[in-house]
Assembly symmetry: C2
Homo-oligomer: 390 residues x 2
Amino acid sequence: MTQKILQVPYGTRDFLPGEAKAKKIIENSLMKIFDIWGYAQVETPTLEYLDTFAVAGQASVDNFQFFDRDNRILTMRSDMTTPLARMVATRLPEASLQRLFYLSQVFRHEEAQAGRQCEFTQAGIEMMGASGASADAEVVALAIKALQETGLPNFTISMGHIKFIEGLAEEAQFTVEQTLALKRCLITHNAVELDNLLAATRVEGKIASVLRRLLFLHGGVELLQDMQGLVDNAKSRNALQNLLTIYSLCESYGVASYISFDLSLLRSFDYYTGMIFEGYTPGMGYSICGGGRYDSMMASFGRECPATGFSLGIDRIMLALKRNTSVDNKAEFAYLVAYSEGKLNEAIAAAMELRTQGVSAKLAEQALEQDEAEDALATNDCCRCLYIGK
Amino acid sequence: MTQKILQVPYGTRDFLPGEAKAKKIIENSLMKIFDIWGYAQVETPTLEYLDTFAVAGQASVDNFQFFDRDNRILTMRSDMTTPLARMVATRLPEASLQRLFYLSQVFRHEEAQAGRQCEFTQAGIEMMGASGASADAEVVALAIKALQETGLPNFTISMGHIKFIEGLAEEAQFTVEQTLALKRCLITHNAVELDNLLAATRVEGKIASVLRRLLFLHGGVELLQDMQGLVDNAKSRNALQNLLTIYSLCESYGVASYISFDLSLLRSFDYYTGMIFEGYTPGMGYSICGGGRYDSMMASFGRECPATGFSLGIDRIMLALKRNTSVDNKAEFAYLVAYSEGKLNEAIAAAMELRTQGVSAKLAEQALEQDEAEDALATNDCCRCLYIGK
């Protein structure tokens, strides 16, 4: 037998009973908190036309792509924000504020390693139709509360603002190409490249010193106040003020202690237009959640509409929890209903009685002696035995 | 803007808030009953190597297929039984009985129409390791109980047996080709072709009259007793006895009234080796569930192991329920927390208090007058308003 018959494709995995159970517990807690905060679940197709992702700037070589029977290119969704923007723009009423959530499989050709799979599960929310800082604060606060719900003991939220960076580039009179080069330096955290760029652009004065320190502008809320005195352009100053307002609302939500600022933060999705954030947990080299404001995407689908949201990586959270707690790798049931020869009908009636009362009950595979029944508890993942004997 | 940007691919669909909620209610009720009956949830990848489906005889032109980066053919799963067989054979302990369930997206190139989509959701169970009639009875009884849980008011289960048909073909001394032709007639319900086949094979006597009536052998349990007198081969007689035993155990489960027999029943999956069944509801041209015994498939993955199971089509059940009841197309939340100018922080605190108590609360998008707040209830899908005023 060739190995391909028995293997799963690169970057994918099975979830065995205990793993699936642990995953479901996390997913259920997230679905519950999203509902409690007033978000409604939606589903979109696993497949989309590649054009849908392309118009939102989200079609890349990392998308799984193939032709349908009419030679149109389909893609397995690589992100949930784009499909939700398409759905809201085409299917939901224009005037109303939409608070939506999803729990979905997402697919990307990536080099697989711990916490990085080609197929993974994302839970997330999108708020469409609200432009204010209160919407961004709600999104950040909900991300933190959601991470708390998963039982993750340690995590931090790093927050930045795309307009702060854009304002600096404008103040430095960067060309479009230079601005793109700056963003690349920030995404790759490349301080050497950044120095080279600054030398090449011959930027000078206060703005030069801010740009030179940009990769190291990490800190608490006091960083925002400090920076207000160091940048002169209105765009960056407004971005700092926006972050201050969001932070202050997060204090009202009681979650501000999780938040620090990283003014060089950029996410690899290029649709963000305002506040952006990522969540990290110790020992995990990738973010466990991320999001921000994206006010331009909806216009790609024919509807001008501000929007903000985030997604959580369920597989990464599971991995982090596994490192922090011991995950029991078994599903567990209350009763094994075992029976002696000729007592199957009575055993069925007993199992049905337990089930009617909401108690989980497995029926033994075949007639057993009472001592065999006790021995069978472990292999059946059951806690107790109900024996129907002669 | 081209239409492809705004459309979803052929045979796929979005689930808007009310639709997704109705779907989730059905899915949750199914997951709950599967758990109560002692089944553990598992997940498998959306993608499998086509070889995995091919070895189980399940690779067809209806599979979505494409090449991965190493030029191996991937397929989006077209069925959950094959991936679960692969998973159990390679990952779970050999000796133990496995009761597993899944809730998964499944993909097939099909002509889309009501109840027939290219992407659809299946919930189902597989019991691997049990060969007896009691396992088949449990599977049928659980299918019926699961359909009851969805709220479907009217449905019937049609049951048959692949070995009954094979026994008839052997008794008639059909060649392999003739047996395949017979099965094709039964799958397509083609009485004319069946007559032609019987004329061509010149089969005579008692077996000829049984074969001639085969497409009309529908009825209650008395049909099984009648047929015992009309077939002479052991295989068909054993199949009838097997169905009688399963039926009698279904009486113990209290579900026998849903069951009738159709001795010509064949399913388009050719992996079945014993009892097979399908569920129907009035006004729906397709089965809403189906399953049966498949004792040979596991051997394809290197492990000899009897198995039986079924799957339910969630989309078809939703469609049937929509025809029977009015489905509310909105999600619903308890409170809209609205606030006057300057009272956002107090409103946040009030919303958090409600949420802590497990009560769903949406925060108003912006400061509102009290009468505006009442008006905003409907567009926010909220039942009550909590107004934080001056």
